[in-house]
Symmetry: C2
Subunit: 319 residues, 2 copies
């Protein structure tokens, strides 16, 4: 697991024993801890938002939600909350809602009328495991549950903060954000895209929700406008890096590790960074974006160590 | 247009000229006025929630949303707000969100994988006018926009009231309400349902959102717990009446007036009130439910005249 070294970012302190201060951050235990927190809350949230529901809807929701995703978005949310000095447990509802929204978007995107994918996260997609009607409804239910969780009065947060999180999340996931990105992606099939159009598409399709993850964590953590702005720059850069790496993995990734097919973009003649820039320039571009993301974290010092490590993780991930 | 007469509910006042006080309520101008209000806000809400979006998503959203629906749910919301003495303009965001949620549910229900309907509100369904992928996304976007509108800070309402509306609406439209009803409806195909199971199905599929319409209006209007409870009883009764009438119209309605097919339930061998109870007993049942709904309005006196007339409208509507 890649570690982030802080020695280059802070001048050596004058320590008695003439040591260079070097704070190494080990991401793996951090990811394990946060993933466990997120998974535990997601189980509770499914139970809370499906009482009285028959087995099938909550089964299909849980099938897709608990399929071992990376939990990148919720962990970014928790890490952003901590970066501004907040208690990450207060950000768990936002984190869970974001993962539910991400999952619903995958369930609907996988439908035959959309990307028509049979496998996701190493097992049959929701409409394959259940049926199309159930997948449409389970996606709808995950989206609605996300907003229901965010709407529950939380005495540890002011209603103003809760409303602001709702605003951030609903803006990013709707027709101004993720859904418009998906629409553009579909419309782009069979049409050549310029690099700028591809970046704009990804800023919406993937970037908006990654931005909302970081921003909602920051809001819960009580970020200043300045901090929020810096974190949004970080999110914008890693969001784009995430997509560039996704495209690279689709060229040279291991389908067994990824749990989904490889080479599918080329087969569909899709506009991708490797196709438009070449593979090696795409790698360099992802590295540059990661460097820029990490630079944006400068104001936060050690508290942003997890976010720095997450940026490296986005760059070096194998799935 | 049916009018509601109040003379039976209040004892005649001793008027100078020995007149019986009879407050007739003319529903048509009321419906026209509220529909215009709702339609105007819906246009604004679509614009507000789709800036930066390409044409296709907002076109598909508007195509389904502005197709001349009855606007029953938003008007119930406004009328409930007024019944408890509130200013109905403050309930417009809730009213608009409820219509968006109702419309998204129709767009998704019409999909080939669900009810596979070609016509809705007198014109081709969304996936027929556009395509399946666009219909899935337009539905998703309508649902997300609904929550985005409810999440906008409204200085005329406290954030607590806004959060409560969000809670009411998200609960009713998710896996505890409308979506579970739709799931049960799909699972019931080809299986005989008892009358109780049919009522429970409809309480979820149609009743939950009608209940949320009345309840959210009541919350915005500052209803007491007592008033809220009475209005929920009203909503429960008209929600069920609505569905009984729907089933009756599917037997004997005019497809030209309704803008959709007739006799489709029988063709699909669906459990309906006429099939389970007979046509005439279904009519009587709808009348009883309407009477019970109107009785629940007793505490509100004249301010509930529109709600009473709306109950009559639900009973006597032709589409």
């Amino acid at each position: 697991m890649k570690t982030a070294l802080w020695k280059n970012r802070f001048p050596p302190m004058k320590a008695g024993r003439d040591m260079t201060v070097s704070v190494a951050f080990d991401l793996k235990p951090y990811l394990d801890e946060k993933r466990a927190l997120v998974d535990e809350s997601l189980k509770v949230y499914i139970e809370q938002t499906t009482p009285g529901a028959g087995g099938r809807i909550s089964e299909a929701m849980a099938y897709s939600l608990m399929a071992g995703g990376k939990r990148l978005r919720p962990i970014l949310c928790l890490a952003a909350c901590e970066a501004v000095g907040g208690n990450c447990r207060l950000a768990l509802p936002a984190a869970g809602a974001l993962e539910m929204i991400h999952t619903y978007s995958l369930v609907h995107d996988d439908l035959p009328a959309m990307d028509n994918d049979d496998m996701r996260r190493g097992r049959p997609t929701c409409h394959k495991a259940f049926d199309e009607a159930t997948a449409v409804l389970a996606g709808d239910a995950l989206l609605t549950s996300a907003f229901h969780i965010l709407s529950k009065a939380d005495t540890r947060l002011s209603p103003e903060v809760q409303m602001e999180v709702l605003g951030v999340v609903s803006r990013a996931s709707g027709a101004m954000g993720m859904i418009e990105g998906q629409m553009r992606d579909i419309l782009a099939e069979g049409h050549p895209l310029t690099l700028d159009a591809l970046k704009a598409l990804h800023a919406l399709k993937t970037g908006a929700l990654i931005g909302a993850s970081v921003e909602s964590g920051a809001v819960v953590g009580g970020a200043s406008q300045h901090e929020r702005h810096a974190l949004l720059t970080y999110a914008e850069k890693i969001g784009l890096a995430f997509q560039v790496v996704d495209d690279i993995l689709n060229v040279e990734g291991d389908p067994l590790v990824m749990g989904k097919g490889v080479g599918t973009d080329e087969a569909l003649n899709k506009a991708t960074y490797p196709a438009l820039m070449g593979l090696e320039p795409s790698r360099r571009y992802a590295q540059t974006l990661t460097d820029e993301a990490i630079s944006a974290l400068f104001p936060f010092a050690e508290q942003a160590a997890p976010l720095e490590a997450l940026a490296q993780y986005v760059l070096t991930r194998k799935r």
